[in-house]
């Protein structure tokens, strides 16, 4: 139990996917301008990550011992097609959920955070339960980072920032400060 808790906390805060592994930077810098969009994008990310963890674990235990060189290709294809299927199923079963998450799903599939999750979870040799917890933590961490960033950027929109720093440069420097803050969580591990 304790082990699972630390996997979760580590993925959520200490090794935050966005702020310390730099995965999922494109949506982090580009899309997250409004708090609500950022939050829903984060939720969609959690959702896809859990499916990904499941697929990656199945592939890794059933198929890849026989063909290790297919690892990357099979991850990408299986994850992308599973997400597509799940998207169709949701559209049919729960139109409300589809409206909330739907538009983001195809975009997220090609996100580096998703492939990163599959690779890290299998590299670390997690079993099924551990991979699912890891996915939940990583997705939660991404949501946290998106929401924080969107909140700050909503504020900067009404400020009079110098023209040269507007746009990506400003976002990157804000991200750097956030990342610096999250580094403080590293102390939690040495204490434990």
């Amino acid at each position: 139990m304790g082990e699972l808790f630390w996997i979760f906390i580590s993925a959520l805060l200490v090794n935050n996917f966005v702020l310390s592994y730099f995965l999922g930077i494109c949506p982090f810098l580009g899309v997250s301008n409004k708090l609500e969009t950022a939050f829903r994008l984060g939720l969609a990310n959690i959702f896809v990550m859990i499916i990904t963890a499941l697929c990656a674990w199945l592939l890794n235990t059933l198929i890849l011992p026989y063909a290790p060189y297919l690892r990357l290709i099979s991850f990408i294809i299986v994850i992308a097609s599973t997400v597509q299927f799940v998207e169709m199923a949701i559209k049919k079963l729960s139109p409300d959920l589809f409206r909330a998450l739907g538009i983001f799903l195809p975009l997220i599939t090609t996100n580096c955070a998703i492939l990163g999750l599959a690779l890290f979870a299998t590299n670390k040799g997690y079993d099924l339960l551990e991979s699912l917890i890891y996915a939940l933590g990583a997705g939660g961490g991404i949501t946290l980072a998106f929401v924080l960033m969107a909140g700050i950027r909503e504020e900067t929109r009404i400020l009079d920032v110098p023209r040269v720093i507007e746009g990506t440069a400003l976002s990157l420097i804000i991200a750097g400060i956030l990342s610096l803050t999250f580094m403080g969580f590293a102390g939690m591990f040495s204490a434990a």
């Binding site: 730099f22 090609t110 580096c112 492939l115 990163g116 990506t168 400060i177």
Partner: protein
Amino acid sequence: MAVNSDLSKNKLIEEFLKGLWTENPVFVMVLGMCPVLAVSNTAINSLAMGLATMFVLVFSSFLVSIFRKLIPAPVRITTFIIIIATFVTVVDMLLAAHLPVIHKELGAFISLIVVNCVILGRQEAFASKNPPINALSDALGVSVGFVFALFCLGSVREILGNGSFFGIPLFGSNFEPWIVMILPPGGFFALGFILLFFNQIRERKKGAREKNGSGASWKQSRYTTEYITENEHGISD
């Protein structure tokens, strides 16, 4: 014939140069951020990552361009990704066999070249519509631009964060390294400030042009229009 080949040669050079500077994938388009920030903590890592990306980009552009008439449009993205993933697997295995130290440093980020949007972007925007030679020249330009950007960032971070360049110490023992630069936040800060520098150059140029043209009131008018659009946005929210 001579004129024709001369023209196409000029065009090839132009395609090469635009990726290198005016459409630099990192400094201008801000694409492929994930490998750029993650592995640029030393000059040697960023160079290795840049070259690995270059290998994948050049070969997949070439292959996509050869098969561009055979790939059916509805499944083109999937096909591009399979081609890219194949070359990434090749480069991953090559590095693991010949440069195990660097392979270990870069870790999963080699595999993550697959989802680098610079590569897929070039296939979709250029290689799938142009003959192999042009695609090759475009891919070379973009990847040299990418290597250059990555190398700049890696050098800045290593020099400031570690006081060394390619592992060779630059300053005396009195130099206190800025540890933060080789840590994750340093990646954000370094790229942020480099973009700031580029913005400054662009603004200077624009400012000079405006002054020669319609007068010096451009800044004033910009603030007014921005205020209006912000306001409208606020109401529609």
